[in-house]
Symmetry: C2
Subunit: 361 residues, 2 copies
DNA sequence: CTGAAAGCGCTTACAG
DNA sequence: CTGAAAGCGCTTACAG
């Protein structure tokens, strides 16, 4: 390989040795033990002379000493790192949660690895192993199911894993369903279509049961013919468009649609519009999550808001608590978080008669 | 702290010692050296008997041995980890790039830390230090400027840092501007408004210069009164709404608007609509990036597509090349990547006369 | 109050 | 072909 004249400089930079504890202690003429203690803020605990401490700290600052985290990890058998597993990284739901996780983790000096399994079980398993080999102290699984018993604490966000040792951060789906359905009922909707989530999403069943219950309580009939389910692993609007077209094709009348999530709601709106139906004039649509794009969509989405960022924060602080063993046993199986309804422009008064699609469906 | 009866079990799990090299070698009655070599696939290189190798591999599989990465890192002075710095994690642009980075990195056994600086210089600096203390072997900066000379290679995605040792992955902005403006010109637009990016975004100036050049080439006049600039650090549609309102208030006629990015385009459309203007009938709007939401927006956005995921992949593979010193010197200062125009529904034939806002502006 | 020494779990010259 | 031993850079009993 040919190299230019910057090679030497490059190499020097590459192998730039940052000051080690050994060097620093030689400089201040103290043992590594003492210097280490001062650096780690245990100076007072060991009653090291203030003056000595200052000398150490100054020298450290002067030489830009930062402890090598790898060595520290090896010795302490702690990595100050956790692993986060999400289904898909380039996607609103996961990233909102990641934002919350970051807030909480970094202020405690923890870093995190992120991996996305893209709904492939082998990737999910493989990454678990790799993260463990990297000594992560805990794992946060976002909308992903960890099947194995892991040697570190795990917190599941929307995972619903009722296994000993995992704490779930879960939304109150009963509340969510009630919020959405009573809003729709209040607007006069009686014939409501439902789009269930993909089978692999752990929220799917819980939310559906909650909807069935809420419908019963509110005295709303759930017509099985108006219930469709998302398929495939595509997390974009495609599957929502698809099932809405099917719904339309069945010619079963409805005036409102409750989608599994916002992206699906957007897909549904596309399909409705394609069939010549107006939202919300002809059909009201309610989404779920309140992702960033929900408010700028046209029409802005009425949606059940999940406090995604809070959920990330809670997941992180809970995991940290678990790692530090600060959470009293028995550990809670779940921490419930509450949704609220954000009413925007995709819902309106129900029309007198359920409309029919006009365009080529 | 009170503990339930699962405490012992918990602790056992927490301190679960995975098999060490020492243990494994005791089991197979070989030295750690030999076992280590076999595990690392250097068995043949050291001419270790096939049979011996098999015995080692089997025992490793049986006892689920995985080398402790922390110890390995310390010894080799390599971490197989890189750091990624983004402005904001919960945002379409960065996450698309992250997806590409992940693809490339994980297949080579590398992991990455992500941190977001949220446009605060102190966070940016602090994170650099923390990542370096964690021995990252390289850094990818997404739309962020690294000012210091770092002891590891850095690759900048849309960073434009022409400093020795950093490789920039950059879009061909000249091409991008030409694509957008000739599309608009072809539709008969002559009075075009421009929304420039925030001053802190490193793309802002380059793109603007490219636009000015392309306009000259295409013989399109750039009216300074129709040029506005985004302000603040909000990465949502807010700033776009704001400046479009100002534009409207100036009552300077225009028939098309070229936004700095898709989110801004969405904000602009909101503001236009608020003023009673229809998109694309009255005003055509062109976005930039082609984030996920662009295609589902209403109207679906005509936009200049940046191959974000590819840019992430290229950034990662380039960084890996730099780390392994496989890239010939002198290193390229930049790797250029090409945009393309995605024509959707937010642009149309220019109206005969520039429209005026009708609603309370 | 401070230090000498062991050891975390690997990899890798060096020796045979 | 295989192994004994050093050492990566820390922290932390243990000793005084």
């Amino acid at each position: 390989m040919r190299r230019g004249r910057s090679y030497i400089a490059d190499m020097a930079k590459r192998f730039h040795k940052s000051t080690s504890l050994k060097e620093l202690s030689a400089i201040v003429r103290l043992s590594q033990s003492t210097v280490s203690r001062v650096i780690n803020g245990e100076g007072d605990k060991f009653r090291i002379a203030r003056e000595t401490q200052d000398r150490v700290l100054q020298a450290a600052a002067l030489h830009g000493y930062t402890a090598n985290t790898v060595a520290r990890s090896l010795r302490q058998k702690r990595s100050y790192t956790i692993g986060v597993i999400v289904p898909e990284i380039s996607e609103g739901y996961s990233t909102a949660v990641l934002g919350g996780i970051e807030d909480e983790l970094l202020k405690d000096g923890y870093f995190y690895f992120v991996v996305s399994h893209r709904h492939r079980p082998d990737r999910l398993k493989g990454y678990q192993r790799m993260m463990l080999a990297r000594a992560v102290e805990g794992i946060i699984a976002v909308d992903s199911t960890i099947e194995d018993e892991l040697p570190v604490p795990v917190v599941a966000v929307s995972g619903h894993q009722h296994r000993e040792g995992v704490v779930n951060i879960e939304l109150d789906h009963g509340q969510a369903a009630l919020l959405a359905l009573s809003h729709l009922k209040g607007l006069g909707h009686r014939r409501i279509a439902f789009v269930k989530g993909q089978a692999f999403s752990s929220d799917t069943n819980r939310r559906w049961r909650a909807i069935v219950n809420a419908a019963k309580d509110l005295d709303i009939a759930v017509d099985p013919q108006l219930v469709v389910q998302l398929e495939g692993i595509d997390s974009g609007p495609g599957p929502g468009i698809e099932v809405t077209r099917q719904l339309l094709q069945s010619r079963r009348p409805f005036t409102a649609l409750f989608a599994f999530n916002d992206v699906t709601a957007m897909g549904a709106i596309l399909a409705l519009r394609e069939a010549g139906l107006r939202v919300p004039k002809d059909i009201s649509v309610v989404g779920f999550d309140d992702v960033l794009a929900a408010s700028t969509y046209n029409p802005p989405l009425t949606t059940v808001r999940q406090p995604l960022r809070d959920m990330g924060q809670t997941a992180a602080s809970t995991l940290l608590g678990l790692i530090r063993d600060e959470i009293p046993h028995p550990q809670p199986a779940a921490i419930t978080v509450y949704p609220n309804l954000v009413v925007r422009k995709s819902t309106a008064q129900a029309p007198a008669h359920a409309p029919q699609p006009v365009a080529p469906a």
